[in-house]
Subunit: 274 residues, 2 copies
């Protein structure tokens, strides 16, 4: 039995989302979900103020009775508490999986930098709202139950990480930035103009010298602009990789959608962390 603590370090979910995800989890006898009440808190933009979100995250991470921490939703806000959260994590956090993506990538990055637990990019409870969201939620539940540890984009030979492009850009050069030397870095983006994607690639490729290479996830829901940008996302990625001497390693099956795959940070389970 895997006990999974769920909290919301950025923005809240509704009790209805928790109910739908709990119903799906009933099909996983190996999983027991514990939604922290902070998941439903509201304070302006956030799922409770910084103190409330930090406290809930630490309760989940430091609870010796829990095996994993699943982030309920992204949005924005994890960066405000990530450094303090990592600083206050106890030994009980060390053995846990931390699973999420999008804005919660601030925490995945900070945990990876600190060497705490196992940060994993993958679907969150909020994804149940998407077309095909059940499959996304099942994918994460299966991973959390230990079925499919080596599935998807885990890399046996080279350590990998996956980030939302904007989130990674905002992490670069800050106290949350892990050392990604030798890593395969996968990025995806949603709801940004292509000129903004180009600008983000300028920024991140300048900060990622020394990585093993870059893989491009989906760049989805690009808003209409007053004129076409003139290059597709893959051209943009290839251009900036070439300019900065980073190998472009092709596409990655990640994105803000139901097909978003699991990417354990580091090497695949069973391989030694380099």
């Amino acid at each position: 039995m895997k006990k999974i603590a769920i909290c919301a370090p950025s923005t809240p979910i509704t009790p209805g989302i928790a109910e739908r995800v709990t119903a799906i989890a009933a099909g996983f006898p190996g999983a027991e979900l514990h939604f922290h009440p902070q998941c439903f808190a509201e304070d302006g933009h956030f799922a409770g103020d910084d103190e409330a979100r930090l406290a809930a995250l630490l309760e989940c991470a430091n609870d010796p009775g829990m095996d994993a921490v699943w982030f309920a939703k992204g949005g924005y806000g994890a960066n405000r508490i990530a450094a303090q959260a990592v600083a206050d994590m106890a030994e009980e956090a060390a053995g846990k999986v931390f699973l999420g993506y999008s804005d919660t990538g601030f925490l995945l990055g900070a945990l990876y930098r600190a060497g705490i637990g196992r940060p994993v990019h993958g679907p969150m409870p909020v994804d149940i709202r998407r077309d095909g969201g059940e499959a996304a939620v099942r994918r994460s539940l299966a991973f959390l139950c230990g079925e499919g540890q080596d599935a998807d984009l885990a890399l046996a030979q080279r350590p990998g990480v996956a980030f939302n492009l904007m989130t990674l850009a905002m992490i670069c050069g800050t106290e949350l930035m892990p050392d990604l030397s030798g890593h395969v870095v996968m990025v995806e983006e949603v709801a940004e103009h292509l000129y903004a994607v180009d600008r983000l690639f300028f920024h991140v490729t300048q900060h990622l010298s020394g990585i093993a290479g870059l893989r491009l996830g989906r760049i989805s829901d690009v808003p209409e602009n007053d004129r076409p940008f003139g290059a597709e996302p893959e051209e943009i990625a290839r251009y900036w990789c070439a300019r900065s001497g980073i190998p472009y390693l092709g596409s990655a099956d990640i994105g803000h959608d139901s097909a978003n795959k699991i990417v354990p940070f580091g090497l695949a389970t069973g391989a030694a962390r380099s």
Copy 2:
């Protein structure tokens, strides 16, 4: 007589804009405008491809017959040519004012880093389209003619710079980033959600340790979000300054509007550059 070369390192203007600005410049007998034909070029998002924009910028900057380079418009694209432009600038560029803001801040930053010429934040020809845009264009023309060198936000005691917040965030940690130690850094933003402004402040304040302080320009045209953010721009700026130990020095009269003031980079003219 000040000869002013105008080019578009990011996106194009129309000939109509050039005509309106030329008509206003007729009231400045000390100014002679030279619109480079590249101002009107189009290539997807950009005012011509990277090679065309770079070539026009270098023609303007390296022309011994010109006294200043005025950027026609921002948008997006100056970052793609800034490093090469600075590398290829000749001695003739050293004595020139370079005037613009918004996306052209990538060039102002790169020039300031390289110690080439006098980068200045201020209105551009495209601002003629705004309500009150004539006053904005006149403000820059007066500055370019040498009337009002010490006006506005020039600082006699401490060197200053002014940037669009997103532009500065994208410059941080890259090959374009100047050393801003001891500087008063002014930032403004347009058309970004307040959560994105908060996220940008997280990023830039982590990169700006050692500055003399931060001043907040206008954060305008904030899009409606599905819920209120819960903090005003000044609270956001104060919060991140306090977290990172940067003195918050109050407001700055800059922004994406007609009131946008002139900010010469460095110390006010006449004072020694530190």
